[in-house]
């Protein structure tokens, strides 16, 4: 009952906030990881297509390392940030009070990649092989631990090589048998290298995603605890705006790519590519007007790529393909919602890695679906 009252109150506040479009925009920094990249397209769409402004925010984006994002949100130097779920569990176990309110990546983005010549029919066959990871930290390490655990293996059964973020080169040079990578990006790059004959003896690769074995909570939006206490409607409006921007990027990747051009200097932006993408974006908008279901939209994305492939050089299209692959990791029936089982699986993985010690952490305050459900379901 209390929950229902809270939802109604929040929804009323949210409606009031959205209707007062004339109110001055509130400046908000959203802290992101990595560097400007097409994989952050929903944020660029959110700014360029006015989703954040409609929710009352003047958003600026900043890129930092993941622990710095989390700490700055934990101490309130920024209200919002994007980090992975594992960081939330680890950080909370060390006294950082942040709450995860929106699961952006519905599938854990990390995967194991290996030459198809290796013919791994079972992960158990990894025993004795050299596996490259950036280092013993972060999502790749968690992903590897989960994969090994799902096959009844431990770290001691394989030879781990710390290779930094150089998986493509190191795998092609043959220094490792397999490597942990981001499923949406590196396999594509390795395949391109292999197709050009620049990947040693590798002609193609196989990809085993962590998500195919275990559902682990992944990247999402975190909020400063005091903001949730003092102004929950603000968090709900941000979740609502991000959800709308994310849905827009999922529905119209051509438009999302075009929005990203302003933010990602290294994105290919040839005149012919931009012209074709503009045409594709327009066609997609017309298609979306017919209210297609999720499967039909997914099919339309595949058709979009197919058509563009006949018009644009494959090398120029790589980043667009990365965006499409990433959309596959975002798309879900219920955007933004994470479930307890995926949090528990992640907590267990961190326990296996020995990062949490005896205290495996309390998940009850780590995440909430309240704000994403309030914001539009």
């Amino acid at each position: 009952m209390l929950n229902l009252i809270r939802i109604i109150a929040l929804f009323a506040l949210l409606s009031a906030a959205i209707s007062s479009a004339q109110a001055p925009l509130v400046e908000e920094r959203i802290l992101l990881t990595f560097v400007p990249n097409v994989q952050f397209a929903p944020f660029y769409v959110g700014i360029e297509e006015g989703f954040f402004a409609d929710a009352g925010f003047d958003v600026t984006l900043e890129h930092l390392q993941e622990p710095e994002v989390l700490d700055l949100v934990a101490v309130g130097q920024a209200n919002f940030g994007i980090v992975s779920g594992e960081q939330v569990i680890l950080a909370r176990s060390r006294g950082r009070d942040v709450t995860y309110i929106f699961e952006w990546f519905q599938q854990y983005p990390v995967a194991l990649v290996h030459s198809d010549a290796l013919e791994l029919s079972d992960l158990e066959q990894l025993r004795g092989l050299k596996v490259g990871i950036p280092g013993r930290f972060g999502a790749s390490y968690s992903g590897l631990t989960t994969l090994l655990s799902s096959a009844g293996l431990t770290e001691t059964d394989i030879e781990i090589k710390e290779i930094g973020f150089n998986a493509a080169e190191v795998l092609c040079l043959g220094a490792v048998d397999a490597a942990m990578v981001y499923a949406n990006n590196e396999p594509l790059q390795i395949r391109n290298l292999a197709a050009a004959g620049d990947c040693g003896e590798i002609s193609d690769v196989e990809v085993v995603t962590v998500a195919s074995q275990v559902d682990l909570v992944s990247n999402g939006l975190i909020v400063f605890r005091n903001l949730l206490d003092a102004a929950p409607e603000s968090a709900a409006r941000m979740a609502f705006a991000f959800k709308a921007a994310l849905q827009s990027a999922i529905n119209n990747p051509a438009s999302a790519y075009l929005a990203s051009l302003k933010y990602v200097d290294t994105l290919p932006s040839d005149e012919s590519l931009v012209a074709e993408l503009e045409a594709a974006a327009e066609r997609q908008s017309e298609f979306l007007a017919s209210n297609p279901d999720r499967a039909a939209v997914a099919e339309s994305r595949a058709e979009m790529l197919q058509l563009l492939t006949t018009q644009i050089d494959a090398g120029v299209l790589t980043q667009f393909q990365v965006l499409l692959n990433t959309i596959g990791l975002w798309d879900a029936d219920q955007l933004g919602v994470s479930d307890l089982a995926s949090w528990e699986a992640m907590r267990d993985t961190l326990g296996l890695m020995g990062f949490l010690g005896d205290d495996l952490g309390d998940l009850s305050d780590a995440f909430s679906n309240e704000y994403v459900l309030d914001s539009g379901e």
Partner: protein, 272 residues
């Protein structure tokens, strides 16, 4: 009051004052550190800054004790020290050899300087990933990053040192039929040594940066790895312990070279 007017008791008092002054000077760095620790303690005690960002000194001490007890700090420090030493050995040796060659043959400077300056002006963190790919993921790539970073100060100081040798003394030695080796051993090396050792002092402090940058890019052990690992587990006190360890290593090596300088240049001070 004139010096001759001093009572017989004034002289020991003056000596005591000088001795006290010397002791105070020696203790002043320690006092500075203690004051800084006190300020740090107050900042965290009064919660002027979140303990998430700056942990109390007591927490850092506890973390240091734990890292020493379980061998973590020793293991990672040994790795970094090893990489630094090999990097210093290669980088300084190559810097000395090329520096000497350039000082003696200015044409070489025109040929090599574009490459050397290009390497030096590019932040090592930008091309360190390439060194990992080229030299492998093992310690050799960290030794190379260290060697690259310590090479330049050695090179420049060697050139300056050798070129600073008095031409009149060189002419004198030549007039006495001294050979190349004799000129090098008895004139060039002693004359250039103060400048070369000054370069070595800079190199030793830079060596920590080279090794840690290499470890940041990809490694299984070392203080750079320990920082990333502690940071990714939100163990801020351990991050502080690791950073202080890096500082301690750099200061120790710097002091060793300063000691070496003091010993080697004893003759110079005596003649002065």
């Amino acid at each position: 009051m004139a010096e001759s007017d001093l009572t017989p008791f004034a002289q020991p008092e003056k000596s005591r004052a000088i001795a006290h002054g010397a002791i105070l000077r020696r203790l002043s760095p320690l006092a500075t550190v203690l004051v800084l620790i006190l300020i740090w303690h107050w900042i965290t005690d009064w919660r002027l800054v979140s303990r998430i960002l700056i942990p109390p000194p007591a927490d850092v001490l506890d973390s240091l004790a734990a890292a020493l007890a379980d061998g973590t700090l020793a293991k990672h420090s040994t790795t970094t020290l090893g990489e630094m030493m090999w990097g210093l050995l290669f980088g300084v040796s190559i810097g000395l050899a090329i520096g000497y060659a350039i000082a003696k043959a200015p044409l070489l400077e025109y040929i090599l300087s574009p490459i050397i300056v290009a390497f030096q002006s590019t932040p090592i963190v930008a091309y360190a990933p390439l060194l990992i790919i080229i030299f492998g993921t093992g310690p050799s790539s960290k030794v190379v990053t260290t060697a690259v970073i310590v090479f330049f100060p050695t090179l420049v100081n060697t050139i300056v040192g050798i070129r600073g040798v008095s031409p009149r003394l060189r002419d004198l030695m030549l007039s006495l039929n001294a050979g190349r080796w004799q000129i090098f051993r008895n004139l060039e090396l002693p004359s250039a040594l103060p400048v070369i050792l000054a370069g070595l002092k800079t190199s030793t402090t830079l060596a920590v940066i080279g090794a840690v940058v290499g470890e940041f890019v990809g490694s299984g052990s070392g203080l750079g790895v320990l920082v990333i690992s502690a940071r990714s587990q939100y163990d801020t006190p351990l991050v502080y312990v690791t950073v202080f360890t890096m500082t301690a290593i750099a200061l120790s090596l710097y002091s060793l070279v300063a000691l070496l300088e003091w010993r080697v240049l004893l003759w110079q001070r005596r003649s002065a």
